[in-house]
C-alpha cells in the first residue's frame, strides 16, 4: 500500500512539473483563442488552417472522392476478368476510345490496375486515412488548440489536392495513363517505346507522386511536432490513447521512408528525360539498341520497396490505432495490454524498415539476402500476432456495444488475421518462389492491408462522424454496409488464394491465352460477383454519409460514452477546440468499467479519487 501511495505522489509531482513547463504555452494558446479572426468563406472552407476543417477536406477528397474512383476502377477490370473480351456498355461510357466496340483494350486494363493500386494505396489509405484522422484526433485527443503549424497543415492538404488533380489529369492524356503497375518498375516505366502509358502518363504519375511525398512530409512533421510538444497538462506519453501512438509512429515511418521514394522517382525522371542510366542497361526495344549502360532495375526495386514496405504499415498502423480505441470504448473495457500494444507498434515500425527485400526474393539479388529478409520478415509477425491476441483479450468479459464502428473494428481483426497468416508463406523466400506475382499475393495483401485498413477507415468514420459533422450516421444502414462488405470481402479474396496457388500470374488481361487456366474461369466469375456486391455496399455507405451530413440525427456531446478528450470539447466546432482553459488530464484513456465508479467510463479529465486504486496511469 505504502509503495502505491508513494508512487501516486511521485506521479502527481511529475505531472505538476510537466504542467509548469506547459504553462507558458497554455497561456499563449489561451490568448490565441480569445483573439477572434474574422473568417471569410475562403479562409473557413477552402484555405482553412483549422485542423478539423482540414480533416474534413481530407475525408471528402481523399476518402470519398478518390476512394470512389479507385473502387470503381477495380470493378471495371473485375468485369473484364470474369467475362474476358466481352463487350460492356460501361466500358463504352467510361473508357471511350480505349474500349473499341465496348471491348476493353489490354493497355487500358494494365492502366486501370496501375491507377487503382496507386489511388488506393497512396491517396485513399495513406493520405485519406492519416490525413483525416491524424488531423482530427491529434489536437483533440492530446488537448491542443490546433496543430503545431496550421499553415503547414493547410499547405500539406493543398499539395495533396494538387497531386490528386495531376494524377486524375493523367487519365486523360492522349497515350493513356501510367500502366506499369503501381510499383512502376523500370525499364517498363522508363521507356515510352515499351508501353504507351510510359509517355506523358508516366511523367504525370511521377510528378504527382513527388508532390504527394512533399504533402506527406509536411503533414507527418506536423503530426510529430504536435504530439511531442503540444500535449496538455498531465498527458504523459503513456497516457496517450493508442490512436495517437499509432499516428505518431506512422508519421515517423513516413518521414524516414517517403524521401527514398522521392529519390527513386527523381532518378527515374532523370533516366526518362535526361538520358542518365541509373536503372537501365543493355536495352533493345523496337529494333533499336538504346544508349543506356550500367544501370540496374534491381536498384530501383530496392529504393521503391524501402518506402513500399514501410508504406503498408503506414497504411495499417493508423487503422489498428483507430481499432484499439473503438474496441476498448465499445467493449466498455480497458484495451488489454496497453504497454504491449505500444511496444508492438514500435517493434512493427522498427522492423518495417528492414524487411523490404522480401518483395524481391527472386529479383536476381544475392540469395543470401533472401535468407536475411526471410528472418526479419517472419520476426515482424510476432508483434502483429501480439496485437491480434490483445484485441481478442479485450473482448473477453466485455460488455460489447455493437455500434457500426465496433463491427468494422472486429472485422478488421478478422481480416488482419486471415490476411496476415498467409504472409507466413509469402515471407518465406522458399515458398515465395512459386506464389510470387500470382493471385495469391493479390489475395494476401488485399486482406491484410487493403480490406483491414478500409475497415479501420470505416470504423473511424462511423465513430467520429458526430465529432466531424455534429450528426450521427444511420446505424441500420451501417449494419447493412458492414455485413454485405464483410461477406463479399471474404467472397472475393478467399477463392483468390486458390487461383494463385493454381499458378495464375497477376496482371493478366485475360486468362484465355492459356487453356491450362480454363477451369479457373468459374472462380473468376464468383470473385467478380462478390466484388460487384462489395462495390454496391459502398454506395449504401456513400448515401448514408451524405444524407447524415445534412439530415442525420443531431449528436449529443459524448455519444459513445468515451474517455478521450475529444468528447469533452463542445459539439460546435470552435477555433481552438475548447472554450476557456484546455482540460487537464489525470489518468489514461482506458478506465472503462473501473470498479468504484458509478458509470462504466471515467473520462481522462476526472482526477484520481483519494481512495482510488491506480492500475495504469
Amino acid at each position: 500500500m505504502k509503495e502505491k501511495e508513494n508512487h501516486r505522489i511521485r506521479v502527481k509531482m511529475e505531472s505538476k512539473e510537466f504542467g509548469d513547463l506547459l504553462d507558458d504555452k497554455n497561456q499563449n494558446s489561451d490568448f490565441h483563442q480569445d483573439h477572434h479572426h474574422k473568417e471569410t468563406f475562403i479562409t473557413k472552407y477552402i484555405f482553412s488552417q483549422d485542423h478539423k476543417m482540414i480533416a474534413k477536406q481530407y475525408l471528402l477528397t481523399g476518402v470519398l472522392f478518390m476512394g470512389f474512383i479507385g473502387i470503381a476502377m477495380s470493378l471495371l477490370f473485375r468485369l473484364q476478368l470474369a467475362w474476358p473480351e466481352e463487350s460492356f456498355a460501361v466500358y463504352d461510357i467510361f473508357l471511350g476510345k480505349w474500349a473499341p466496340e465496348g471491348v476493353m483494350d489490354p493497355n487500358i486494363y494494365l492502366a486501370l490496375v496501375t491507377i487503382h493500386g496507386t489511388i488506393m494505396v497512396f491517396f485513399v489509405l495513406t493520405a485519406g486515412l492519416s490525413g483525416t484522422f491524424s488531423n482530427l484526433l491529434i489536437p483533440l485527443q492530446i488537448g491542443a488548440r490546433d496543430m503545431a503549424s496550421g499553415f503547414l497543415n493547410m499547405l500539406s492538404f493543398w499539395l495533396f489536392f494538387l497531386s490528386s488533380v495531376i494524377m486524375l489529369a493523367s487519365l486523360f492524356v492522349e497515350a493513356g495513363p501510367a500502366a506499369a503497375g503501381w510499383t512502376v518498375y523500370p525499364p517498363l516505366s522508363a521507356l515510352p517505346q515499351a508501353q504507351s502509358g510510359s509517355g506523358l502518363g508516366m511523367t504525370l504519375w511521377l510528378i504527382s507522386m513527388a508532390v504527394f511525398v512533399a504533402s506527406s512530409l509536411l503533414g507527418s512533421l506536423n503530426y510529430i511536432v504536435t504530439v511531442i510538444n503540444l500535449r496538455t497538462k498531465g498527458m504523459s506519453l503513456f497516457r496517450l490513447p493508442l490512436t495517437i501512438w499509432a499516428f505518431l509512429v506512422t508519421a515517423i515511418i513516413g518521414v524516414i521512408s517517403f524521401p527514398v521514394l522521392l529519390s527513386a522517382a527523381l532518378l527515374l525522371i532523370m533516366d526518362r528525360s535526361f538520358g542518365t542510366s541509373f536503372f537501365l542497361s543493355d536495352i533493345f526495344v523496337q529494333g533499336e539498341v538504346l544508349h543506356y549502360q550500367g544501370g540496374s532495375p534491381v536498384l530501383f526495386e530496392h529504393l521503391f520497396w524501402f518506402l513500399g514496405h514501410p508504406e503498408v504499415y503506414i497504411v495499417i498502423l493508423p487503422a489498428l490505432g483507430i481499432t484499439s480505441e473503438i474496441i476498448a470504448t465499445n467493449s466498455r473495457k480497458p484495451i488489454f495490454g496497453y504497454r504491449a500494444m505500444v511496444a508492438s507498434i514500435l517493434a512493427i515500425a522498427f522492423l518495417s524498415t528492414i524487411v523490404w527485400a522480401h518483395h524481391m526474393f527472386i529479383s536476381g539479388m544475392n540469395p543470401f539476402l533472401g535468407s536475411v529478409f526471410t528472418f526479419t520478415t517472419l520476426l515482424i509477425a510476432i508483434p502483429s500476432a501480439v496485437k491480434a491476441f490483445n484485441y481478442i483479450a479485450t473482448l473477453w468479459k466485455g460488455n460489447l456495444q455493437f455500434n457500426p464502428g465496433m463491427l468494422f473494428s472486429i472485422g478488421l481483426v478478422s481480416t488482419f488475421i486471415t490476411g496476415g497468416l498467409t504472409g507466413i508463406i509469402l515471407g518465406d523466400s522458399t515458398l515465395d518462389i512459386n506464389v510470387h506475382d500470382t493471385y495469391f499475393v493479390v489475395a494476401h495483401f488485399h486482406l491484410v492491408m487493403g480490406i483491414s485498413a478500409l475497415y479501420g477507415l470505416f470504423a473511424g468514420v462511423y465513430h467520429w462522424f458526430p465529432k466531424l459533422f455534429k450528426r450521427m450516421m444511420n446505424k441500420n444502414l451501417g449494419y447493412i454496409h458492414f455485413w454485405i462488405t464483410a461477406i463479399s470481402a471474404y467472397g472475393v479474396f478467399f477463392p483468390m488464394h486458390f487461383i494463385g496457388m493454381a499458378g495464375l500470374p497477376r496482371r493478366y488481361y485475360t486468362n484465355t491465352a492459356f487453356p491450362y487456366f480454363d477451369d479457373l474461369a468459374d472462380i473468376n466469375v464468383i470473385i467478380t460477383v462478390f466484388a460487384l456486391l462489395a462495390g454496391f455496399a459502398q454506395l449504401i455507405f456513400l448515401y448514408n454519409f451524405i444524407y447524415s451530413m445534412f439530415y442525420g440525427q443531431k449528436t449529443v456531446q459524448n455519444p459513445w460514452k468515451s474517455n478521450t478528450l475529444e468528447w469533452t470539447a463542445p459539439i460546435k466546432h470552435i477555433h481552438g477546440n475548447w472554450e476557456g482553459e484546455i482540460p487537464h488530464v489525470f489518468r489514461w484513456a482506458y478506465d472503462y468499467s473501473k470498479p468504484g465508479h458509478k458509470e462504466d467510463f471515467v473520462p481522462q479529465t476526472v482526477p484520481i479519487g483519494d481512495k482510488e486504486e491506480i492500475t495504469e496511469h
Binding site: Y185, L378, L400, Q401, N434, M472, A502, A521
Partner: protein
C-alpha cells in the same frame, strides 16, 4: 447477358435491403425509443449483431471448407522437379499451421463477440493487462516462426546455392523479350557464347538472342522458339536474360521462378523428375484436362452457334509463363516445356540448327 443478370440481382437486393431497413426503422420508432439516442446501439442491436457475429464465424468456416473442397482440384499437381518435393512439404506444413491458427483465432474472436454482446446494466470485467499471457503469446508464435525460418532458410539455400560450374548439368539460357520467350542451348561444349543486345541486328536480324559471333563458344549454340526440351532427371541450370523490360520466368509445375533483368544474368536450377508423357498420365492432370476439355467443348458449341471457329482440344504441357508485368501482351507470353527421356531429348536436340548455320 450474365452481366445484365448480375446487375438486376444486385439492384433487386439493394431494393430489398432498403425496404428491410425502412421497416426496421419504422418498428424502432414505434417502440418509443428516445429519439436523441436512436443511432446508438441498443440492447436489441447488440443481441442481433452479436448473434450475427457468431453466424459470421460459421460463414468463414463454410467458405473455407467450400474452397478447399471444390478448389483443391485446380491447384498445381505434385511437383515435377526434385527440389519441388521439399517445397511442397514446407508449403503443407505452413498451411497446416496457418489453418490451425486461423480456425482457433477466428473462433475465439467471433465467439467472444457473440458471448459478451452488451446487456444493459452489466459491467465489463476491469482487466488492464496480464504479463504472463503476453509472454505466452509472444513466445509461442516466436518459437513456431523460428522453426519455420530455420526450415525455410535451409531449403532456400539448398535450392539457390547450386554449383553453377557443375560439369554434368545442362546449361540453357532463357531469353525474354516483349512478348515471347526463346531458349538457347550451349551446344556440344556446354558453354554459352557471349551475348549482348548490341549484336541483335547482326545477320539481318537473324541473331535473335544477340550472340557474339566472335566468341567461338557461341558457334555451336542452338536457339529455339515456341517450345524447348529438357531431359528428365538431369540437373538443368537456367541463365536468364531480358532484352527490354523486366520479365519473370515462371515454371509453376517445377516450383521455379526467377526474374529476367536487362543488363544482368540471373540464374535458377532444377532437376525435372517427370517426363511430359508421365505427367499426362498423372491422375490429377488427367482429371484436369478432362474438365478443361469439357469447358472448351461447351464454349466451342457457343462459338459455332455464332458462326465462329471452335476451340482446339487441350492437351497438357508444362509451361513457361511471364509473371512480371511487361506491357500489352504480358498475358500471352508463353513457351512450352517438353520433358523428354534422355534418348528422345538427344534425338530432338541433334535435329536443331546451330548458330553457325546462321553465321554463313
Amino acid at each position: 447477358m450474365i452481366g445484365l443478370f448480375t446487375a438486376a440481382v444486385i439492384l433487386l437486393m439493394g431494393i430489398a435491403i432498403w425496404q428491410i431497413s425502412k421497416i426496421y426503422q419504422l418498428t424502432q420508432s414505434n417502440m418509443g425509443i428516445k429519439k436523441e439516442n436512436s443511432q446508438i446501439a441498443t440492447e436489441k442491436d447488440n443481441d442481433l449483431q452479436g448473434k450475427l457475429m457468431f453466424a459470421f464465424l460459421v460463414f468463414i468456416y463454410v467458405v473455407t471448407i467450400y474452397c478447399f473442397w471444390n478448389y483443391t482440384k485446380v491447384l498445381l499437381p505434385d511437383s515435377a522437379s526434385e527440389h519441388g518435393v521439399t517445397y511442397d512439404r514446407l508449403m503443407w506444413i505452413s498451411f497446416a499451421i496457418i489453418l490451425f491458427a486461423q480456425t482457433i483465432t477466428q473462433a475465439v474472436l467471433h465467439y467472444f463477440a457473440y458471448k459478451y454482446r452488451g446487456i444493459k446494466n452489466r459491467k465489463a470485467f476491469f482487466l488492464t493487462h496480464d504479463n504472463n499471457l503476453e509472454l505466452i503469446w509472444t513466445i509461442i508464435p516466436a518459437i513456431v516462426f523460428f522453426c519455420l525460418i530455420i526450415y525455410g532458410m535451409v531449403t532456400w539455400s539448398a535450392i539457390m546455392n547450386f554449383d553453377d560450374q557443375d560439369e554434368d548439368a545442362l546449361i540453357i539460357e532463357l531469353y525474354a523479350q516483349q512478348w515471347n520467350w526463346k531458349a538457347r542451348y550451349a551446344g556440344q561444349d556446354n558453354v554459352l557464347g557471349d551475348a549482348n543486345v548490341r549484336f541483335l541486328n547482326d545477320f539481318d536480324g537473324r541473331n535473335s538472342v544477340g550472340i557474339d559471333s566472335s566468341d567461338p563458344n557461341g558457334w555451336d549454340d542452338i536457339v529455339v522458339t515456341q517450345e524447348f526440351h529438357i531431359p528428365v532427371n538431369k540437373k538443368i541450370i537456367f541463365k536468364m536474360r531480358s532484352q527490354d523490360v523486366l520479365h519473370s520466368a515462371y515454371m509453376p509445375h517445377f516450383r521455379a521462378q526467377m526474374n529476367c533483368v536487362p543488363g544482368m544474368i540471373t540464374e535458377f536450377s532444377f532437376t525435372p523428375t517427370k517426363t511430359t508423357a508421365e505427367m499426362r498420365m498423372n491422375s490429377d492432370i488427367a482429371a484436369k484436362v478432362e474438365r478443361i476439355n469439357k469447358i472448351r467443348y461447351d464454349n466451342s458449341q457457343k462459338l459455332l452457334a455464332k458462326g465462329e471457329e471452335a476451340l482446339d482440344p487441350y492437351q497438357f504441357d508444362y509451361l513457361l509463363l511471364c509473371a512480371k508485368i511487361c506491357g500489352t501482351s504480358h498475358y500471352n507470353m508463353q513457351m512450352k516445356i517438353i520433358v523428354d527421356t534422355e534418348k528422345d531429348y538427344d534425338k530432338w536436340i541433334s535435329s536443331q540448327p546451330a548458330f553457325s548455320s546462321i553465321m554463313q
